[in-house]
């Protein structure tokens, strides 16, 4: 039989029904279904959904109406839009998060377990693997999407919500979840570690979901600036750009849809048929899905090829090196091969010492090694990322000219992004040692558990400090105008309009904002890094640790304020002392809100007029204004609280590591 005949015969043996969706799909559905982590994700999804729906229901139930069935039905109809909006938002956020959590480790785990090479020996194509992994996760997401279905149907039947509204918003949620899966799988093929893949997936997802919107916004801003209209220009309704602006970003689409369907005034209305917007968004997302699917296939093919080449190269290297070993060479009668002639190791981009050079390890080896790790895997990537970020900031500074809202937004986004990075960054510290089987070697040394935990914490803190430095750099740039006594501010105020060619009235912050933001962000970072290390010690897999720590962060700083605010409003009313105290307490411990208040409060003085001291600053806290001394004291207490909590989390992590090995903690 000729090779061509053999190939044809082999193909005939596998019916197409078995090739699609294929064995990878079956395995993924089976494995995902029986993993405890998937069960936890389902539980969290249901609990969050129930919690939000309950809170929204309770907050909306106090609507006017009489007694009786018709009045009750009327009340339901009044509640329905609000509940639908809440369910859709929760579905959108939760399905996106879960999609990334499920998809980002998909290929990384295969790489780490060494099972990717096994797939090389099968006739499976890269597209079959990507498709199988993607579909397996989409099935899981579909199951999760069924959870709120009874509620949505009830809202449709009794609340008067239109089928179109439900269909469009639910479809948008699902399509975005599918997009998140595809992005996660693509990132997973190009990443080595699951933790990095999760973080990168979130960033990339943010870029594809909001990037076009930001580009359009930037173009409109430039047009606005060029037209002499000053900073802060907005989208002109009805233009083609605006359509893209709205339809590319799911959040914008939701706001527009809610306005259209429910007359909810949650976003700026744009006079466009919402059906067109919806169709454009679905189309845009599906095109992106196909694009990422194709890119994933190409990337996976290359990874598999590289893996095969790497193994062969390593095997050859081993043979040559063995021959070069003097004793063996003498036995085999072979000539020694000079080391320079040996095949080089596969090219890798990890940060390490230059070839042929070894660094001197410090006396605290765990901390030493952790401190050697870069934020990104290569210096080139770091420089590119740094330049892109700097360019973006400069652009924003240019078009928005240091206006107060922009300063607050940059601070809020920078703080939130830094905290998310912190929540993920340290969760791999212990779990990855366990996954790569290096933890046993470490535990066989006399190092105390505290040495290990503290070393990991220092390394994570060093890597996370980039975010802190960026935020502080921004605040410094904002606050520099106030030093000394507004002189610099006055100089720049006279200088900037000349280069910008327009009238600018920058808002400058008091440098005390630096101290406040450093306290707030630094302590909350330490807290998240410490809880990340604790999760890492507690959970076997770094991905589960990361998801848990992100959940903790969101629950603490997003879920708790929501619950407390709504519950206190319902229970005590808006002017109750206890309610205000609870709200104040919760908000004071929220680093994003406090950072914004710190910057906002520091700008409450007209520095260009040359007046103002720290005593005249006013901070807009939920329960009333605080002066600088009160705010500094309050933030000091919060800082202390987070530092103590971080220390307790680290001690607990040391206990978890040291317990089974009778180790000094």
């Amino acid at each position: 039989m000729s090779p061509a005949e053999l190939r044809r015969a082999n193909r005939r043996k596998i019916p197409w029904t078995m090739r699609f969706p294929g064995p990878v799909f079956s395995k993924e559905v089976w494995m995902l279904g029986k993993r405890p982590s998937t069960a936890w994700l389902r539980l969290v999804h249901v609990v969050v959904l129930l919690l939000v729906v309950s809170i929204v229901f309770m907050s909306l139930r106090d609507v006017s109406g009489g007694d009786g069935a018709s009045a009750g039905l009327q009340r339901y109809q009044q509640l329905a839009p609000g509940l639908t909006v809440a369910v859709v938002w929760v579905e959108f956020v939760m399905l996106g998060l879960i999609a990334v959590a499920l998809a980002a480790p998909a290929v990384c785990e295969e790489k780490q377990m060494g099972t990717l090479g096994t797939l090389l020996t099968t006739p499976l194509k890269a597209w079959q693997i990507v498709l199988g992994k993607g579909l397996g996760r989409i099935v899981e997401l579909m199951v999760l999407a069924l959870v709120p279905l009874p509620l949505l149907l009830a809202l449709r039947s009794f609340g008067g919500v239109t089928a179109e509204a439900l269909a469009t918003t639910t479809a948008t949620c699902l399509v975005n979840a599918v997009l998140a899966v595809q992005v996660g799988i693509f990132v997973s093929t190009v990443s080595r570690r699951a933790i990095g893949a999760i973080l990168l997936s979130f960033i990339l997802l943010g870029v594809v979901m909001f990037g076009p919107m930001l580009v359009v916004w930037a173009v409109l801003m430039i047009q606005s600036v060029a037209g002499g209209g000053g900073g802060g220009g907005g989208a002109a309704p009805g233009t083609g750009m605006t359509v893209f602006f709205v339809s590319s970003a799911p959040a914008m689409l939701f706001l527009q849809s809610f306005h259209y369907f429910f007359n909810e005034s949650m976003g700026a209305p744009i006079t466009m048929p919402v059906r067109d917007l919806w169709a454009m968004h679905i189309g845009y997302s599906l095109v992106l899905c196909v694009l990422f699917f194709g890119m994933s296939c190409v990337a996976l093919r290359r990874v598999m090829d590289r893996e095969g080449e790497g193994r062969a190269q390593k095997a050859e290297a081993a043979v040559v090196v063995a021959a070069a070993t003097p004793v063996v060479a003498a036995e085999a009668g072979a000539e020694a091969v000079p080391v320079a002639a040996l095949p080089k190791s596969p090219k890798r981009s990890r940060r390490r010492a230059p070839e042929g050079v070894s660094r001197t390890v410090g006396d605290a080896p765990v901390a030493w090694r952790e401190l050697q790790q870069g934020v990104l895997r290569s210096r080139v990537l770091s420089v590119i990322a740094g330049l892109m970020l700097a360019g973006l900031l400069l652009f924003i500074y240019y078009v928005a000219a240091f206006e107060e809202p922009v300063q607050q937004v940059i601070t809020a986004v920078g703080t939130a992004a830094t905290l998310i990075a912190c929540a993920v960054m340290s969760t791999g510290s212990i779990a990855q040692e366990r996954e790569s089987r290096t933890l046993e070697a470490l535990l066989c040394t006399p190092l105390s558990a505290w040495d290990i935990v503290w070393g990991k914490f220092l390394g994570s803190a060093r890597r996370a400090s980039v975010g802190l430095i960026l935020v502080l750099g921004h605040v410094l740039l904002s606050g520099v105008g106030a030093i000394p006594g507004g002189a610099v501010c006055r100089f720049i105020d006279t200088f900037l309009p000349r280069i910008a060619g327009r009238n600018i009235d920058p808002d400058w912050a008091n440098p005390i904002a630096l101290l406040h933001v450093a306290m707030i962000l630094g302590s909350s970072m330490a807290f998240l890094l410490a809880t990340g290390i604790l999760c890492s010690a507690r959970f076997k897999k770094s991905v589960i640790a990361a998801v848990f720590n992100i959940g903790l962060m969101l629950g603490l700083w997003l879920g708790t304020p929501l619950v407390v605010f709504i519950m206190t409003e319902i229970t005590f009313g808006s002017s109750n002392g206890l309610g205000e105290f609870l709200q104040n307490t919760v908000m004071t411990t929220n680093p994003v809100v406090m950072s914004v208040i710190a910057v906002d409060g520091a700008m409450n003085v007209d520095w260009s007029a040359g007046g103002g001291t720290s005593r005249s600053l006013s901070y807009d806290m939920p329960g009333g204004d605080w002066n600088a001394v009160e705010f500094t004291f309050g933030m000091g207490v919060v800082t202390l609280l987070y530092v103590v909590l971080a220390w307790m989390a680290l001690r607990r992590a040391a206990w978890v590591i040291g317990g089974p090995t009778s180790r000094r903690r």
């Binding site: 390593k314 095997a315 290297a317 081993a318 090196v321 063995a322 070069a324 070993t325 004793v327 063996v328 080391v339 080089k344 190791s345 596969p346 890798r348 990890r350 940060r351 390490r352 010492a353 070839e355 042929g356 050079v357 070894s358 660094r359 001197t360 390890v361 410090g362 006396d363 605290a364 080896p365 765990v366 030493w368 090694r369 050697q372 790790q373 040692e433 790569s436 089987r437 290096t438 933890l439 046993e440 070697a441 470490l442 535990l443 066989c444 040394t445 006399p446 190092l447 089974p660 090995t661 009778s662 180790r663 000094r664």
Partner: protein, 317 residues
């Protein structure tokens, strides 16, 4: 140097170690043999203080594993069956890292690293990245790692697993060298012939129970007793003499022969003798009397594999 008394460890309903009692003297190279899941790795992890036993006591170099874990870590080296490496370090940095973990002063580390690299034949790869090493070299690096603090006791879990024949020979030579240096070694392996060549004593464990512990010679004798009750001789006959079946029939009547089995096609007769020390001349005389012409006369050597198979029941967990 190592002593365990009634060491027991359970994973849920599964008993991984069942009252393991063992003594290993100083300078011994102890081969730890058993089927997969027999409890070898669990024993090593408990002795390395990576795991606590559910019951029983153990002492390593005179230290109690329950009370003196930190002291034990300073006198032992444990190499797990799968060696994880920090792939962002060079060989030198990797060894320095562990030297620093054992509190070796910075000034001494360079010299120590050089010595262990020379011993493990990795000097030429000193500044190579760890992940560029072959599997065999990584295993040798694993041995180098456990030697940096000059431990008295080494626990090596499957040190030759996954290595090619050349790398296995090198690993065996290295372990023999370590034995000569006076270190106490506890080595688990599935390659029993290699253990037979380098170990001074062995322990056979199955289902968490220690079936045998002692010298290799005693293991052979015990295996022999359990299986054949005596020596086994394989006689090869020349074709121009009496057939194998004829000779075996004749040998079956000899007093000290338990059983004689013929293979006419191969021209061999396998003879099982009664237990005890025998000279074999009576067999030769009987074969000649039967008309057989002897081409070969080979007492069968009991190998460690045979001893292992005969001492274990083959039950896996």
């Amino acid at each position: 140097m190592i002593e365990t008394r009634g060491l027991t460890k359970k994973y849920g309903a599964l008993t991984a170690l069942d009252s393991l009692t063992l003594d290993i003297g100083p300078g011994q190279v102890f081969g730890f043999i058993g089927p997969n899941g027999a409890g070898k790795t669990t024993t090593m992890k408990i002795l390395s203080c990576l795991m606590k036993p559910d019951a029983g006591t153990a002492r390593v170099a005179g230290f109690d594993i329950a009370k003196d874990a930190d002291d034990i870590r300073r006198v032992i080296g444990y190499m797990p069956d799968f060696l994880g490496v920090y792939d962002d370090l060079t060989v030198d940095e990797y060894l320095q890292f562990f030297a620093a973990s054992f509190g070796i002063p910075r000034a001494q580390r360079g010299g120590i690293v050089g010595q262990v690299l020379e011993l493990t034949d990795l000097s030429e790869k000193r500044h190579a990245n760890v992940d560029s090493l072959s599997r065999g070299m990584q295993q040798r690096l694993g041995v180098a790692r456990v030697l940096v603090h000059d431990p008295k006791v080494l626990f090596l879990d499957e040190p030759a697993s996954g290595l090619d024949p050349r790398a296995r020979i090198e690993m065996r030579s290295l372990l023999v060298e370590l034995g000569k240096m006076g270190k106490t070694l506890m080595v688990s392996s599935h390659i029993l012939s290699e253990l037979g060549e380098m170990c001074t004593c062995i322990g056979i464990v199955e289902r968490g129970k220690l079936l045998y512990a002692g010298s290799i010679e005693d293991a052979f004798a015990k295996a022999k007793t359990q299986a054949t009750n005596g020596d086994r001789i394989v006689v090869t006959l020349e074709k121009d003499g009496a057939a194998a079946s004829v000779v075996s029939g004749m040998l079956g009547t000899v007093e000290r022969v338990v059983r004689a089995t013929a293979d006419d096609a191969a021209g061999t007769v396998t003879v099982d003798l009664t237990p005890g020390d025998h000279s074999h001349h009576f067999l030769i005389e009987a074969i000649i009397r039967a008309g057989g012409r002897i081409a070969g006369f080979q007492p069968e050597q009991v190998r460690l594999e045979d001893a292992f198979l005969r001492l274990t029941t083959g039950a896996l967990q």
